[in-house]
């Protein structure tokens, strides 16, 4: 799913290359901390290279594998909160609160 240079991240691709925040947030809530930590640890050192790779293309005309890589970077952002702040998937003390992202920009 990912560009050849990022084959080391391929094990995370099928689970985390998700196009919408709604899907990424749901995946976060459904995933054990250890798995999110693994994604975080794998992608953070590769993030600069991944951003530079995606930046080779116009944002509105990216090949599919680069788009997947960008979506994986979005998932890096999503799991950074459980990993860096909370030590759990959900924001603490927010059991009853919902905030849905109804529309978001691409890609």
């Amino acid at each position: 799913m990912l560009p050849e240079d990022f084959s080391d991240l391929e094990p995370f691709a099928s689970k985390w290359c998700l196009a919408t925040e709604r899907e990424r947030y749901a995946e976060r809530l459904a995933t054990p901390m250890a798995d999110m930590q693994a994604l975080y640890d794998a992608i953070l050192p590769r993030a600069e290279d991944a951003i530079a790779y995606c930046d080779k293309f116009p944002l509105d005309d990216m090949p599919e594998d680069a788009t997947n890589l960008l979506h994986l970077l979005y998932s890096m952002v999503m799991v950074s909160f459980p990993v860096e702040c909370w030590g759990q998937a959900r924001v603490p003390d927010t059991g009853a609160a919902y905030l849905d992202l109804v529309s978001e920009p691409g890609p």
Partner: protein, 422 residues
């Protein structure tokens, strides 16, 4: 001892003559008061319902559910490119005119005319009734008398407002007043990358406004959003805004900012350095030219944000890092409302810019969820009435003002109603 100067009276609260006594939140736990707010506030004030970019071409429309006024409006770009609003209601049998699948859900799209699902009556984009099915069987029906019913609608800086009054007491720009209109010139029209969040909140609408118009809570409630090297001293220092301004029913708080790129690695999260972004927005701000005179009144450098609390339920929050967001709080009952948060950026041109926006947006939601959940906890206990009066400190001056204005508008309505024997 405050770190930033206070007005000569010694506090912002006294400067704006708001009284210093503990206040009641009866206005947030009373069904009767809420009924009055509907008439006194939401059917009289100008209400922001969106932006002109949501209507990109003639025939573009969106609907807005206004549960607080038990109505729905449809906002449309008309045949000559103007923006109009109508009650979303067919003149024939009262069916809601524009909706899909679920009558209570908002919708948007593009059309040449509005067609009622029920009997096929058609209206053009200017609201005129153009077609009646089996017209010859009606009795003395003049189509000219049965156009859509208009709602007062005006725009300011691309923001679309409606007013449900028969005749608004003031034109929009006068209602906004000089403090808000001093934002004119900000390049709202260039910040078209839009992120629209929505969520139901189990509290009165004013309690969520309170949550976002004071930052006294920030170092405590949000402490864990930042590393301890940052949050511990921040909590010890507490929060002080350099500037508050109140004018008419509207309010502004302005804050100083940070330069996250100058912090040590221990003071910020790794993801912030990787994406060059964070709560305050992208580290690499777009060039938006000169800021309008009404922004950053204390000339803070770095400047954090200005939050314009526009009466009754609309907030424009402009960040120093070149983006802005809006909040809307739409009452659905005395103890529930629908919250909307909309983020606006200059459209990302590169993946790097887009990723920086992603972190700012995800951070916004993490904070928003924390803020939202304290509200149900507050609402339920306020309703117990075990305690009826609550102290507010000087950084909560805008909360004090909001509840005062709500009381004033309701009192004025009551007095007028009594005067005309309603």
């Amino acid at each position: 001892m405050s770190r930033v100067p206070k007005p000569p009276e010694g506090s912002w609260t006294q400067h704006y003559d708001l009284g210093t006594a503990p206040i009641s939140y009866e206005d947030s736990i009373s069904a009767e008061f809420h009924q009055l707010e509907s008439e006194a506030i939401f059917k009289r004030a100008w209400l922001n319902v969106g932006r002109v970019e949501q209507l990109p071409r003639n025939g573009s429309y969106f609907t807005k559910e206004l549960a607080v006024a038990k109505t729905s409006v449809v906002v449309v770009r008309d045949q000559s490119g103007g923006v109009r609003a109508f009650y979303n209601m067919c003149r024939h049998r009262g069916n809601k005119l524009v909706w899909n699948d679920f009558p209570g859900e908002e919708t948007n799209g593009v059309c040449r005319q509005f067609v009622c699902k029920y009997h096929g009556w058609r209206y053009d984009l200017d609201g005129a009734l153009k077609f009646v099915q089996q017209e010859e069987e009606f009795f003395d029906l003049d189509k000219a008398d049965f156009g859509l019913v208009p709602v007062h609608c005006d725009t300011w800086e691309g923001f679309i407002f409606v007013n449900l009054a028969k005749e608004p007491a003031q034109p929009l720009r006068e209602f906004l007043g000089p403090m808000v209109t001093a934002l004119e010139g900000y390049r709202f029209g260039e910040l078209t990358e839009r992120w629209f969040y929505r969520g139901p909140v189990a509290s009165n609408w004013k309690l969520y406004m309170d949550a976002f118009q004071e930052f006294y809570h920030a170092p405590v409630l949000h402490a864990r959003q930042t590393p301890a090297e940052w949050s511990a001293p921040a909590q010890k220092a507490g929060f002080e805004a350099p500037y508050y301004r109140i004018e008419g029913p509207h309010r502004v708080v302005s804050t100083s900012g940070i330069r996250p790129w100058e912090l040590s690695e221990a003071q910020r999260k790794p993801i912030e350095a990787v994406t060059r972004s964070g709560l305050f927005g992208p580290w690499d701000a777009p060039d938006l030219g000169e800021m309008p005179a009404g922004l950053n009144p204390s000339r803070a450098d770095p400047w954090g944000l200005d939050s314009f609390q526009i009466w009754p339920n609309f907030v424009i929050l402009i960040w120093g890092q070149g983006w802005y967001l809006t909040y809307h709080y739409w009452p659905t009952s005395y103890n529930t409302h629908m919250f909307e948060g909309t983020l606006y950026f200059v459209p990302a041109k590169t993946a790097r810019e887009r990723l920086a926006h992603e972190l700012a947006a995800v951070t916004f939601k993490e904070y928003g969820l924390q803020d939202a959940n304290t509200l149900e906890a507050t609402q339920t206990m306020l309703e117990s009435r075990a305690i009826t009066h609550f102290p507010l400190m000087d950084q909560e001056v805008l909360c004090r003002h909001l509840h005062k204005v709500a009381g004033e508008w309701v009192d004025e309505y009551r007095a007028e109603s009594a005067g005309v024997g309603i």
